[in-house]
Symmetry: C2
């Protein structure tokens, strides 16, 4: 580790500190002597390198490397092609349980050996990172027998990086890929990034913004493809496929065709030739992400075609190379007239895409944001999940904290994502959670999975707020296996990042686990969302989007607030869910408090299930949220001396900002609603 | 006139079209034959050039030039130094009535001669432009006998141009002085600009923003002074002195002194040397404008000094060269806590400066915005006017339409400025209007006058909206003589700009005269102000500044709205006026409707003097305003064919935007107040 980077958070969770637990160290030393690997591949080479480096750092031991197992103390990296007796014995019949990316971790007490076995070399790499995590978090290796398969096939990230170096919705510095409209000169940071991603099982990423501007359109030309290929080379060694966001209108901007009509023969031909060209540089290119006909981006609508026409045209071009098309469903009218209450942006994705089910080629996936609006701190789950049995779907989360504090506030999102993945769609009756849609088990999807807008930039600690690294880590772990508990994931991350001191682990864990609830409390209440400053989306502004064109309203007046999305009297959005959910949300009796204002317009005096009125709930949660934000800071303060000084002070500064800024939220929201409703706080706390 | 510029509005009001009135042409031809001038000076040269060019264009006649009067048909340009008998005869005893910039225009029926006589050459230049205006607007020259003196000594403009070419609050393109952090290459446009300014009597201007950023700080160094001097040369020929905005902290940024303490000997010495340097390049340099301790600009407060200390230090340096310091009074707490209702930004200038009366050197002027807030469509008049008998004052208007439609809406400001100039301060009892403060007649000011933030950029028509030229023209004419009526000024401008067709004159005049009232109607009601989008200030946003740090609030709740600035129950701002005005504004009985919410917080049900309630007034004016904005467009439409096509279509596009955008204002403001008050429109018009 470069001295400059030490304790800055640059290592992230791959922070292999020297072990201080003497008993465990003794145990580990009985295992870690000889690294045995009888095959070679680029990814196996990575696995070996990571293991040697990690063990060196943790145990201060240089592993002896061999292609043959010794009598004892072997760490064997093996695949189905490995011909070593001990491997065959240890694997037994487990091998049939593995998928292409799965692995077995197993210790042999007799020989004090550890087997890391993958059906393929990617499995071995994931197994090595798992083994390192066990050691790093001080788990005994005696009696380890683990069989792991990723639940989701595509485990992706989306970068919203622009080639000028800026990042749309980036809160952690500039791009690690681009600067000054070209690629960065030093790619070493990209390799460090690939390590972090592989260690949590990410297997695909885009590197450029879904809003593909002029310069970025050229990424698929000979001007930039050699550089793109160099980045793909780095990721490939870590089992990660590279994807690009492409400009739907490339045939016009690059091809000089004058049209991007997906049914035009010249357009189709151009893309086929373009695909050939891309694959000549990057034989395992993953495919493309497309934002079309959305927020002023070009798309097939211009030519009277639909989204199936548009995406299939691209899919046809990528098909010969096993490339895929990730077609975003974030399509809505962004020039809405706020006066027209009959339009509901929440309906848009379903209305646009559901009727097209079955019309997409089998290498197209629809990329669907978790909610129907846009990554609010709380909103309904998109009704598209489960609604398209014949169309591949990939779920899109947002790790970058656009609406959740922009990595200046702490907001740990794993609990939110788990709720969404566990959301019961009733698509095939009870037991049809979202996670079963996107892992491909509910319908026969050829491709499916989860992606997310990442929170990484070139800040030394990658994510701005050091604790925001937990969102990236947790994302990877959760989409590997959505059945992992939040507590398991959090415990792993805290220990790997800050060590095993119980006070540190307990404090940081509690801070993370409470943070989403705290952020929700002092920001927008009861699922209503959007009370943020326009454009940059930081800080409170109750009417910020109320009279604008974005379809994002709360309709607060002196009597009440909320969006009536019922079938009976509102926009009918609730009718897009399967019947059980329709009636659940339709009825104010069953609709949960936390989403009440997302689905209903109610008086401020409406009594919540919690027993208090809507207005009193607003006041209470905003006062509580500030107190709890203050507590977050104080909890962290108590760790002084237990966390290295650089990271301690860095996190403290963010928690101080959050504690201060939460007051601004509290006072503006409370004052707004007090001035509007005229109803006093029952507890007579200060409202301005 | 360059063909490219023809009919674009580039000529402004110096649009010398060929005369079409045959009778008048015959009359004029009897006068315009020989131009007689027996002296020489740079400014006289300008006067001669302008007269020859103008008459050439209007009458298609080349004037014969001579230094001696002939028997008949002389146009004589003369000063007190001229030795021509006819001049002596014609001037008679009028010469004693003239000040340094005054002039006499007089015709001699017997010899069909016209005398343009100034005490100095500047008077001659102004007289020539007056003569040309008479001809241009088709006034008979028989029996002309005019004696004119400018009422105000300083008649200035402030440019808020940055050296990167941008203009703060500019709505007419980029800077005509700067681009890419240097001066423009072609100075010919600056000369055309100087002509326009001289024709309306402007005698001083700054060229750079009062917010003096890093590059602009260097304008007073050898890097840029040669260019500044070249610009000064151009202006000098038109009788205009050049001023600069300077960075108060120049001693730190340029001088490397580490301090800008005005009492520090090194600081004082540095500025004295700097003044010598500036005057070595520009012997008649006007002086400096300083925005100090305002909106994050540096100033004397940093060193525990006051504004007298700060400005006197600069004044001392400029004094040997007759330079002056224009010290802005726009000083307030721009980091205000919106929760603290006891602070009132409106009080700030008076509170800061009034106690310092008498402490300023006599070459310092306090530059005071017309109102205590910031150039709103309607606000009170600054109570500083008349309140500092021993301190020179200069009034600052804003021609650029920051808060009044940004030259996309029509808003003719002469009526507003006249109200302000005529405002009765009661400083010396009845008959103490603002105009008598700033023209120096009320107190013994060594320097005084009026300045304004100009609305000019490099758009072909200078001002974005062609009709916004009327604000610049009218400003110059009004500050020359605040007793001119709005109607006189408007009539001059319309005829000079669009010709004398009665339908055109009537229509454009009516559009201009009604426009301020229309803009006020559909924007912020009853003097409350500030209901605009933050930062750029275009378009409605009722709460845009309500919870911000700028001290700009309306305090609307479900019961009422307005800022209580009374002594009895509010911030005490009314107490800053002279007693007659204090009690006038203090009492809700006498406070005029149009400023009610500026001075009082009242219920929506409060009945106005007009007979309707506050809420009904809001609804009524907003519906009316939109109808009237539509009428503006229709009035203009009726001029098709009467105005050249280029200017016709250009103005039409702006009026169309205004008509459309006024609906956005109407609907957002009405909806906001309907949702907040719950009180329905008595006429049941559509509110959303």
């Amino acid at each position: 580790m470069n001295a400059l980077k030490e304790n800055t958070g640059y290592e992230g969770w791959l922070r292999f500190s020297k072990l201080t637990n003497a008993n465990l160290e003794a145990e580990y030393r009985t295992f870690f002597k000889r690294l045995v690997m009888s095959e070679e591949s680029e990814i196996l080479g990575t696995a070996k390198e990571e293991l040697v480096k990690g063990i060196q750092a943790i145990l201060d031991t240089s592993l002896e490397c061999s292609d043959q197992a010794g009598q004892a103390s072997n760490i064997i990296l093996a695949t189905q092609n490995t011909k070593i007796d001990l491997v065959t014995t240890l694997v037994g019949d487990h091998s049939s349980q593995l998928n292409e990316e799965g692995y077995i971790l197993k210790t042999d007490k007799e020989t004090h050996s550890v087997l890391v076995y993958g059906k393929t070399d990617k499995g071995v790499l994931y197994g090595v990172f798992h083994l390192l995590r066990l050691v790093q978090t001080e788990v005994s290796l005696v009696d380890i027998e683990i069989v792991e398969n990723p639940k989701n096939q595509l485990r992706m990230l989306n970068h919203w990086d622009n080639m000028d170096g800026s990042i749309e919705r980036g809160y952690a510095g500039k791009s690690i890929f681009f600067e000054d409209n070209r690629f960065v000169e030093d790619f070493s940071r990209i390799k460090d990034y690939a390590r972090l991603l592989a260690s949590i099982g990410i297997n695909g990423t885009t590197i450029n913004n879904v809003n593909v501007h002029e310069v970025e359109t050229n990424l698929i030309t000979e001007e930039f493809l050699p550089d793109v290929a160099r980045v793909a080379d780095i990721f490939r060694a870590y089992g990660i496929k590279l994807f690009l966001s492409v400009n739907y209108a490339s045939t016009i901007q690059l091809g000089g065709l004058g049209t991007a009509d997906p049914l035009d023969e010249n357009v189709r031909h151009w893309w086929k030739e373009k695909a050939k060209e891309i694959y000549s540089y990057i034989p395992d290119f993953g495919g493309v992400v497309v934002k079309a006909d959305s927020e002023h981006r070009p798309g097939p609508f211009t030519y009277g075609r639909n989204h199936a026409d548009g995406s299939n045209m691209l899919a046809e071009a990528l098909e010969p190379f096993d490339g895929i098309v990730l077609w975003r469903c974030f399509v809505y009218n962004c020039l809405q007239d706020w006066r027209d209450r009959s339009i509901d942006r929440a309906r848009a994705a379903y209305d646009h895409f559901k009727p097209l089910d079955g019309q997409f080629k089998d290498n197209v996936l629809l990329q669907i944001k978790n909610g129907p609006m846009d990554f609010q701190v709380r909103e309904g789950v998109s009704p598209l999940f489960g609604a398209m049995p014949s169309t591949n779907q990939i779920l899109e989360f947002q790790i970058t904290q656009e609406y959740t504090g922009q990595q200046r506030h702490l907001c740990y999102l794993i609990p939110q994502w788990k709720e969404i993945l566990d959301f019961e769609t009733y698509a095939k009756g009870e037991g049809s959670p979202v996670k079963s849609v996107v892992d491909g088990s509910m319908y026969e999807y050829k491709y499916s999975g989860i992606t997310a807008v990442v929170n990484v930039g070139n800040d030394m600690n990658w994510t701005g707020h050091t604790l925001a690294q937990a969102n990236l880590y947790g994302y990877g772990r959760l989409i590997w296996n959505p059945d992992l508990s939040t507590e398991e994931i959090t415990n792993e991350w805290v220990k790997a990042t800050f060590g095993v001191d119980p006070q540190v682990v307990e404090t940081v864990t509690e801070m993370l686990l409470k943070s989403w609830s705290i952020y929700e409390k002092y920001t927008s209440p009861l699922g209503v969302g959007w009370m943020v400053n326009p454009n940059h989306h930081y800080g409170p502004n109750v009417d910020g989007y109320e009279y604008d064109r974005w379809g994002t309203y709360h309709f607060a007046d002196l009597q009440g607030i909320g969006v009536d999305r019922t079938v009976a009297t509102g926009t009918g959005y609730t009718g897009q869910y399967f019947p059980e959910n329709t009636s659940f949300y339709e009825s104010i009796e069953t609709c949960p408090d936390e989403l009440l204002l997302f689905f209903h317009h109610v008086p401020y005096t409406h009594q919540l299930k919690s027993g208090v009125s809507v207005i009193q709930h607003i006041y209470n949660t905003h006062f509580e949220g500030v107190e709890e934000a203050e507590e977050l800071k104080n909890r962290w303060l108590a760790l002084e001396g237990k966390v290295d000084d650089v990271r301690f002070r860095h996190v403290l500064a963010r928690q101080e900002e959050q504690a201060e800024h939460s007051k601004e939220w509290r006072d503006i929201i409370n004052t707004y609603f007090y001035r509007k409703s005229g109803i006093a706080d029952e507890l007579n706390r200060t409202i301005y």
